[in-house]
């Protein structure tokens, strides 16, 4: 259990609520985000975007725009094609049920002949100032021939729909499945009860507060390129853009991701603009900067979620789950974003066991192209969709069978003695005590007292509901060879370098990237404790391919379980080498050397030497075993995870609904989470708070809506896309349980970045539907806006005619 923050023990080691080292610069306006960087002689790019969801381009006339003040160049898809610029690659290949590969249509950075969503990139205007570039873009005449568009996930594969790509018949990207269909059919055949639920997981716009921004730069004397980018994983961008799009070898391409203002998945991907500014910087011999406006972000950042699902749960007469059958349509948008195909498959289908010992599961996922912005991972990525489905259908089943929802969960939870537990959908959970967490959460939320609170709310004319959600997620995706077998086109390890400097300070290089996750603090805590040096003497470096040897970046709650493990491995190598040096310095056998709290000592003697002195000796190797050991104290490590980690927990919320207006207010929200071992409880709680509010956002406020006729994005700004505000949400009660550490990584950690968002939407919707159940309402789709809730109540009040 974590102690409350204000009584957190002092110190800087693992488990301490160390205040953040990154805060000083952020709080004083000294952060360096990409937009804050200006390069000498830089030009500004403006991307002309399609106003149509689907149109053929019969011609682009840039003559007037070229004459506009300040314009240096205008490029279209034809210019990039002439330079043999490649398609934006997809990093994961899914195979169909019949073993054939998915449809993988080209994704040019600037379109050549067809636009496929509102916001698709048509041309780039490069000028001396931002205003000049934007002014000139209005002078470009594009001869569009508008074509019919399809935006609906549910209908995109109907035979009469407009086709997004010629090589994807019926707009099907892939038709995938997982699990034992025959076993599931058999389970349903002997079920005492079957619960069926149709649900929609609404499309979201991630909306990190910092809009995407880029600067491309080319140095003609060396042929070196530099890209400054708002990325969660600069090395991945270097690989994807260098190898697949612009044919720049790694040693000639530096990618820098400086301070990044949030990502939530949307800044994982390789975006067209990165290739455009980098390519154009060479064409023009000047740095080129491009900063998105928020309205462009809505039209060009990868969106999230967007599933339509039918789920069926088979139960025996005692309420034990026998089988789960799921059929999902997942919207890919107009093109395949970097990791899009993996999200509704290996990050969704594989999670459908949840915390339950359901013996048979079969899931089919049809991924569909539509004339919308590409869809990819957004905080949780596939796992919130799986959790939402499961936790909703379990609640509906509880209501249908008359079994208390906590009791129904209790009967079906995987028990700790079953660990490691192999699910029927390809994962093996290594650890977790789900019943313990459920009981703790029920107690913390005073589950038994709910009826009294509901009665009290009723006295005030309010409908009160309680939502229960037990989630599990698979984080720190890997091992690389397993992922590769499943279609990943990249490794999923992480690298670290721990460099002792001669006078005892330490620089740690990590291939993960911090854009709010507090790595500069938490990673330093780990290293300071393990090396026994003051935390002030440890700095964390990330986000620059010229400094960090290699990296896969930050997503999927992987930074600590994978990146942290790599750091520990590198620290261990440093200590191992330092041990040899210390043995030499103290003229003792290496086997007799003990290391504790930063000092090497000879067992059974009072001889000891500090690790800083060892470092000095390593760099000033006068008294040094040069024949056996290289000078220096600087070690690299790559860590490839042995398995996913499985953070899990139970969240309980209570809502009050005003039946007259349909307004939902959150009365309380508690979470008890198992993240394995905790490095910094303050940071962990912060991650949970933020995740939960993104879950609440999906449940109550956020919804990305396209007009079904025109394919226009209706919710294209914060005026219509409702971001949760401070006055929309309550304060939270968050606890952690450290009794089931991860069994296969050196820190025992599981990751905490996505948990809140994975359970949050299901937890709130279960509460909302619970509150509405007294009107006979069985389910409503997200978001539960006042309008939608009020309409559901109105519809329920209409007497149903006898059949």
């Amino acid at each position: 259990m974590t102690a409350p923050l204000d009584t957190a023990p002092s110190g800087t080691g693992i488990g301490k609520a160390v205040r953040r080292r990154e805060d000083q610069r952020f709080l004083t306006g000294r952060g360096t985000y990409t937009e804050d960087i200006n390069r000498p002689g830089q030009l500004h790019a403006y991307i002309l975007r399609s106003p149509h969801a689907h149109a053929r381009i019969n011609g682009i006339d840039t003559s007037a725009a070229r004459e506009a003040p300040g314009v240096v160049a205008i490029f279209t898809g034809a210019d990039m094609a002439a330079d043999k610029v490649g398609s934006l690659p997809c990093g994961w290949q899914i195979h169909n049920k019949d073993g054939t590969p998915m449809a993988e249509p080209p994704h040019p950075p600037l379109v050549t002949d067809t636009v496929r969503h509102v916001g698709d990139q048509v041309a780039v205007v490069i000028a001396e100032t931002k205003n000049q570039a934007k002014d000139a873009a209005e002078l470009i005449q594009v001869d569009y021939e508008p074509l019919p568009a399809v935006v609906s996930t549910a209908d995109a594969d109907a035979p009469d729909q407009p086709q997004v790509h010629p090589n994807a018949p019926n707009n099907v990207c892939y038709d995938w499945h997982l699990g034992d269909k025959a076993a599931v059919d058999a389970a349903f055949a002997r079920a005492a009860h079957v619960t069926t639920l149709d649900l929609v997981n609404n499309r979201l716009v991630p909306n990190a507060m910092e809009p995407r921004a880029y600067i491309g730069e080319y140095e003609p004397s060396t042929g070196d390129y530099t890209l400054y980018t708002t990325s969660q994983n600069p090395h991945v961008i270097r690989l994807l853009m260098g190898a697949f799009v612009l044919s720049i070898p790694e040693h000639k391409l530096r990618v820098v991701a400086p301070d990044v203002g949030g990502g939530f998945g949307s800044k994982i991907y390789h975006y067209a603009e990165e290739a455009i500014v980098t390519w154009a910087s060479r064409k023009l011999g000047r740095p080129i900067k491009r900063v998105a406006e928020r309205s462009e972000s809505f039209l060009s950042d990868a969106h999230g979620r967007d599933h339509v699902t039918r789920a069926e749960l088979a139960l025996d007469k005692d309420g034990r789950f026998l089988g789960l059958r799921v059929a999902t349509k997942a919207n890919m948008g107009a093109y395949l974003s970097t990791f899009a195909p993996a999200i509704p498959t290996y990050l969704y289908g594989t999670l459908l066991a949840g915390q339950y010992a359901t013996p048979a599961i079969y899931v089919e996922v049809k991924a569909l192209f539509t004339h919308t912005v590409p869809v990819d991972a957004y905080r949780g990525a596939g796992r919130p969709e799986a959790c939402y489905l499961l936790e909703r259908i379990v609640d509906v089943a509880a209501r249908e069978t008359g079994i208390d929802r906590a009791e129904l969960r209790r009967r079906n939870l995987i028990r700790p003695e079953q660990m490691p537990y192999a699910t029927p959908v390809a994962l093996t959970y290594d650890s977790g005590n789900f019943p313990r967490i459920l009981e703790r959460a029920l107690e913390l939320a005073d589950y038994k007292g709910f009826a009294a609170r509901k009665a009290e709310s009723a006295r005030r004319g309010k409908l009160r509901g309680l939502g229960l959600c037990s989630y599990i997620e698979a984080c720190g995706i890997a091992p690389s060879n397993v992922a590769g077998a499943l279609g990943a086109r990249a490794g999923l390890y992480e690298s670290a370098e721990v460099r002792f400097h001669p006078t005892g300070s330490v620089t740690v290089f990590t291939g993960t990237h911090s854009h709010g996750q507090s790595h500069e603090t938490t990673f330093a805590q780990i290293v300071a404790e393990k090396l026994g040096v003051p935390i002030e003497n440890v700095d964390i470096v990330h986000g620059d391919t010229a400094k960090v040897p290699m990296g896969m970046g930050t997503y999927g709650s992987r930074s600590l379980p994978v990146g942290g493990s790599a750091i520990v491995k590198a620290v261990d190598k440093v200590v191992a080498k330092a041990r040899k040096i210390a043995a030499h310095m103290m003229e003792a056998a290496e086997a007799d050397i003990e290391f504790k709290d930063g000092r090497f000592s000879v067992a059974g003697t009072d001889k000891s030497v500090g690790i800083a002195d060892v470092a000095l000796t390593a760099y000033v190797p006068h008294n040094y075993p040069l024949e056996e050991l290289e000078p220096g104290l600087d070690e690299k490590a790559f860590y490839d995870p042995k398995n996913f980690t499985f953070p899990n927990g139970t969240q309980i919320s209570e809502v009050e609904i005003d039946p007259e207006t349909g307004v939902v207010e959150i009365a309380s929200f508690i979470a008890v989470d198992d993240f394995g071992r905790i490095v910094n409880p303050m940071v962990v709680e912060g991650q949970v708070h933020g995740g939960v509010v993104q879950g609440i956002g999906q449940a109550l406020y956020e919804n990305c809506v396209y007009d079904p006729e025109s394919g226009q994005l209706v919710t294209g700004s914060f005026m219509d896309y409702c971001m949760p505000r401070a006055d929309d949400v309550p304060s939270f009660t968050v606890q952690t349980d450290e009794t089931s550490p991860c069994t296969h990584n050196p820190l025992g950690v599981k990751g905490c970045g996505e948990a809140g968002a994975i359970g949050g939407s299901a937890c709130i919707m279960n509460a909302v539907v619970d509150a509405l159940s007294e009107h006979g309402i069985r389910h409503i789709d997200m978001p539960a806006t006042p309008n939608r809730v009020w309409q559901a109540i109105q519809a329920a009040r209409v007497p149903v005619a006898a059949e």
Binding site: T661, Y701, D720, D728, T785, Q791
Partner: protein, 264 residues
């Protein structure tokens, strides 16, 4: 934003002179709607005339028992002014529910009513309180000021200088806000002066309007129950992503009842 020339006149006369004969010139009050509009390139004025330096357009004073508020007085000034809280507290409350704290520090009464956004709050106050709009040329009864969506009775070149709000015996503004934009999906302002009751509705339709059936019912019996039997016709109401016309019609009644209940 498209390029424009900006002017910062210090007198009303100078502002009027800059405006006259220049069809492409636009006045700017607090700019909280205009600047976002310009940023989206939805307007292209040749000249922007900023009224921010015209001193005599600001301020609040008691007049004839009511309040006269300068057109360039910010929402925050109205929200926090002890004078407003004392004389027409419901108006201070309304001002405190416009936009957010930063918008209220810049946005102005004059800008709000001249723009006449269907979802703006102040038009509800002008109608409910029977206000009078004063311009550099005349006085216009509040009841005839709002003529349609984003339309007012102002002539070209006419500048609003102040609004006079008579003091009601009691009043209450109930706002059901758009959760995203924080504009009114429906706002209902009920004001009672002697036996007379005014009920103004904003956000629901193309333009703020008085709900006369509710006024009559409340004049007969000033209770929330008096509104129970009334219905609002949704056919003329706005319908959008956030609220159907039927929902808005329903909310008009709910907000009106809550306003009345809050005045009891």
């Amino acid at each position: 934003m498209y390029a424009f020339d900006i002017h910062r006149p210090e007198t009303l006369g100078e502002a009027a002179r800059l405006l006259s004969g220049n069809e492409d010139a636009k006045l700017m009050a607090g700019g909280q709607t205009l600047i976002p509009t310009l940023k989206q390139r939805l307007a292209q004025p040749s000249d922007l005339i900023d009224l921010g330096q015209v001193g005599d357009l600001k301020g609040i004073r008691e007049e004839a028992g009511g309040l006269t508020i300068g057109a360039m007085t910010t929402h925050a000034t109205v929200q926090f002014a002890p004078l407003v809280k004392r004389v027409i507290p419901s108006l201070a409350d309304l001002a405190g529910h416009i936009g957010d704290a930063q918008v209220r520090n810049r946005g102005t009464l004059g800008g709000s009513i001249v723009n006449n956004d269907p979802a703006a709050d102040y038009p509800g106050a002008v109608l409910a309180l029977g206000a009078t709009v004063r311009t550099n040329k005349r006085q216009i009864a509040g009841d005839s000021f709002f003529t349609g969506m984003f339309e007012t009775a102002l002539d070209p070149g006419e500048i609003v200088t102040a609004v006079h709000f008579p003091r009601p015996d009691s009043g209450r503004y109930m706002k059901f806000r758009n959760p995203a934009s924080r504009y009114a999906i429906v706002g209902v302002y009920v004001a009672k002066t002697g036996g007379a009751v005014r009920v103004a509705v904003t956000g629901a339709a193309a333009c703020a309007f008085r709900w006369t059936a509710a006024e009559q019912a409340l004049t007969r019996s000033f209770t929330a129950d008096a509104l129970e039997s009334l219905t609002v016709d949704p056919s003329d109401l706005n319908s959008d992503l956030h609220a159907s016309a039927e929902y808005r019609a329903h909310l008009v009644k709910v907000m009106a009842k809550r306003a009345v209940a809050g005045m009891m």
